[in-house]
């Protein structure tokens, strides 16, 4: 039995807005095994990015995080900043959608990698220089030694994302948190970056949590997936199982609204209505207001987890009534 690298229990992340408190993440549980690539997929406001930020301790007051975040069995939620720093950036690293805002514009890429190496390793200055070149090479930046002295603005979007990955890898993290890392990129470059992350995860035996809105990216890169909506996990399953037999009305609706394998120029089975706004509170299932399968009980109480297959959990009362995806 392999031990989980990361376990999250009852995670609840609250923010303040307009004098009201609301839960962006509303009580979720999940785990990541060593070497595993977990996808968290959801639309805007689902809480997927807030989940990643909560893990890394990036939620600032008056935002508030509750629940347990176990890193190799130790609860790191609420840990003192100094203790958290030994884990954050070192054992757990994060990359963002927009490398431009995550990179320091006035430092060269080389300086930023060496800085990360100095903070998280015992390497000497000469070794740091050598390692920085290795890292740029590892992430597929051509002529790595020459690019070390370039500034972020001299790179294209794709190369900047590669550089940010190199900085994240400097400390040899065991877990990479990737927040929509390819959303701002063109499709051929997105494809290159996803392939790069998959290769690095395998070569470095690194786990990845990949947050994305794109079910296609999940299908082509993740081992397991959690589908989030309105701050809660709706369904979690191995990727093959989720795409073959979705067992939540929301997952089914999402899959069907994607124009793939459909007769051209025919209406898509879309999900009616709009996603909830922050602070909208539903007593029952968060998706019930838009769900065409919902019954009165779906609107009254929060659904319990149901096990549909050994690793396939759903929080949908109507799971048995759902058709196969068309």
């Amino acid at each position: 039995m392999t031990e989980n690298l990361l376990e999250v229990h009852g995670l609840r992340t609250e923010f303040h807005s307009g004098g009201r408190r609301f839960a962006a993440v509303d009580g979720i549980d999940f785990a990541v095994r060593p070497g595993e690539i977990l996808g968290i997929v959801g639309e805007s406001g689902s809480g997927k990015s807030a989940t990643l930020r909560s893990i890394l301790g990036l939620i600032k007051p008056p935002g508030r995080v509750e629940g347990q975040i176990l890193w190799r069995g130790q609860d790191i939620q609420g840990l003192a900043p100094a203790a958290l720093r030994r884990i954050r950036g070192a054992e757990i690293a994060m990359i963002f959608q927009d490398p431009t805002s995550a990179l320091n514009p006035v430092l060269t890429i080389g300086q930023q990698i060496r800085e990360s190496l100095a903070a998280h390793t015992d390497l000497s200055a000469t070794e740091r220089q050598r390692r920085a070149i290795e890292l740029l090479d590892l992430v597929g930046i051509p002529a790595a030694a020459r690019r070390l002295d370039d500034y972020p603005y001299q790179f294209s979007g794709g190369i900047r994302q590669r550089a940010m990955i190199a900085i994240a890898l400097a400390a040899k993290p065991a877990l990479l948190l990737a927040d929509e890392p390819t959303t701002a990129l063109d499709v051929t470059i997105q494809d290159q970056i996803i392939k790069l992350i998959l290769r690095l995860a395998a070569e470095l035996r690194m786990s990845v949590i990949l947050v994305t809105h794109d079910l296609g990216v999940v299908a082509e890169s993740c081992d397991r997936v959690a589908v989030m909506y309105a701050g809660r996990i709706m369904e979690t399953a191995p990727v093959a199982s989720l795409f073959q037999t979705p067992r939540h009305a929301y997952t089914l609706g999402l899959l069907q609204s994607i124009p793939q394998g459909r007769a051209p120029r025919t209406p898509l089975p879309s999900i009616p209505g709009v996603p909830p706004r922050p602070g909208d509170v539903t007593k029952g299932c968060g998706f019930a207001p838009r769900c065409s399968f919902a019954e009165p009980e779906c609107r009254s109480g929060r659904p319990e987890a149901r096990r549909m297959a050994p690793h396939h959990l759903t929080w949908c009362r109507r799971a048995d009534a759902l058709p196969e995806p068309a």
């Binding site: 639309e43 805007s44 603005y153 001299q154 294209s156 794709g158 190369i159 063109d186 499709v187 051929t188 470059i189 997105q190 494809d191 290159q192 996803i194 392939k195 998959l198 809105h213 794109d214 079910l215 296609g216 990216v217 299908a219 082509e220 890169s221 990727v239 093959a240 795409f243 609706g253 999402l254 899959l255 609204s257 994607i258 124009p259 793939q260 459909r262 051209p264 120029r265 025919t266 209406p267 898509l268 089975p269 879309s270 999900i271 009616p272 709009v274 996603p275 706004r277 838009r290």
Partner: protein, 327 residues
């Protein structure tokens, strides 16, 4: 043979730019783009950043003035229009933008924005404006109460419906839709796509649908044009092009687009390298630097857009020798 509603021939547009090393150069955003669009037809324009697809949209409407080429709309030369005739063209060809935050006035209610559009072109007697607004809201499936709300009161998908209603307010023949669903959530994208299909059916609109999303372009378009660095590299009926693309770039685009199939996880990356600088383009084919099938003459001789079969065209030296890839 009926004449197309919109006929664009050899459109060119360049911009003076300063590159990161301080040199000034000329970025040729459009390098001779030609296409036609019929009434009731959707032409999808697909391409990545730097392809020139947004410049194309703006040039066709003369929101930016093209450098060369001709644009004919319903038989008349758009670039020669002025005064009333120009205003009439501006009414008949409407742009819908990706970012409704910046194109809707935040201080105007939906009613005021629609009334303004109707009023500018004096399309209805004043007494009939209220009915027309109600009709427009119905058309885009917004509730009647929406009329007295402000843009900030709506979600992204609802704002896009308002944008479409405003475009339709002036009774256009043609919509130019630039990435109008790109910023929307997946579940909302499907709603807007369904709305466009329905409106086209009811109103007989010609639609130039510009997007980087291949799945959506494939679903919504009758015909497609694939752009790369300011040129159309392949064009034809949507299903034919996507089922069996000729051009190596179209093939790569399709291979790179993520599908819902977990079996594809093990595949190689579809295309190596990045877009070359559009400022100093090499002679020859603009895709030659990244093309997996590049031949000697690709680097020296620019390929022409050559007809294939009866309805398709491809800009590639290879197609003289090979059939389209069965993807």
């Amino acid at each position: 043979m009926s004449t197309a509603l919109l006929q664009v021939e050899g459109l060119t547009k360049g911009f003076a730019v300063r590159s990161s090393n301080g040199r000034t150069g000329r970025l040729q955003a459009l390098r001779g783009v030609s296409f036609t669009l019929d009434r009731g037809e959707t032409l999808g324009i697909v391409g990545e950043s730097g392809s020139g697809k947004s410049t194309l949209a703006r040039s066709v409407l003369r929101l930016i003035e093209p450098d060369g080429g001709t644009i004919r709309f319903d038989g008349t030369d758009v670039r020669a229009l002025s005064g009333r005739a120009r205003a009439d063209f501006n009414r008949r060809a409407q742009m819908v933008f990706q970012d409704l935050y910046s194109s809707l006035n935040p201080r105007m209610t939906v009613r005021a924005a629609l009334a303004e559009a109707i009023g500018v072109h004096r399309l209805r007697p004043r007494a009939a404006v209220a009915d027309r607004i109600a009709e427009l809201l119905d058309l885009v499936r917004l509730p009647q109460q929406a009329a007295d709300r402000y843009p900030r009161d709506f979600s992204g998908g609802q704002r896009q419906r308002i944008g479409i209603a405003r475009a339709l307010a002036v009774e256009p023949d043609c919509l130019i839709a630039d990435e109008i669903v790109s910023a929307l959530d997946v579940s909302i994208q499907a709603q807007i796509i369904n709305l466009l299909l329905e409106l086209q059916d009811r109103l007989g609109l010609a639609i130039l649908f510009i997007s980087h999303d291949l799945r959506i372009v494939r679903h919504i378009s009758h015909r497609v044009a694939v752009m790369y660095l300011g040129e159309i590299v392949e064009t034809g009926p949507a299903e034919a092009v996507f089922a069996a693309p000729y051009h190596p770039y179209t093939q790569a685009l399709l291979a790179a687009a993520p599908t819902l199939d977990p079996q594809r996880r093990g595949r190689q990356e579809a295309l190596r390298g990045e877009l070359p600088s559009p400022i100093d383009l090499a002679p020859g084919c603009s895709f030659s630097g990244r093309c997996p099938h590049v031949m000697e003459r690709c680097r020296t001789m620019p390929p022409m857009l050559i007809p294939q079969e009866s309805t398709r065209s491809v800009r590639c030296h290879l197609t003289e020798h090979s059939s389209p890839a069965e993807l």
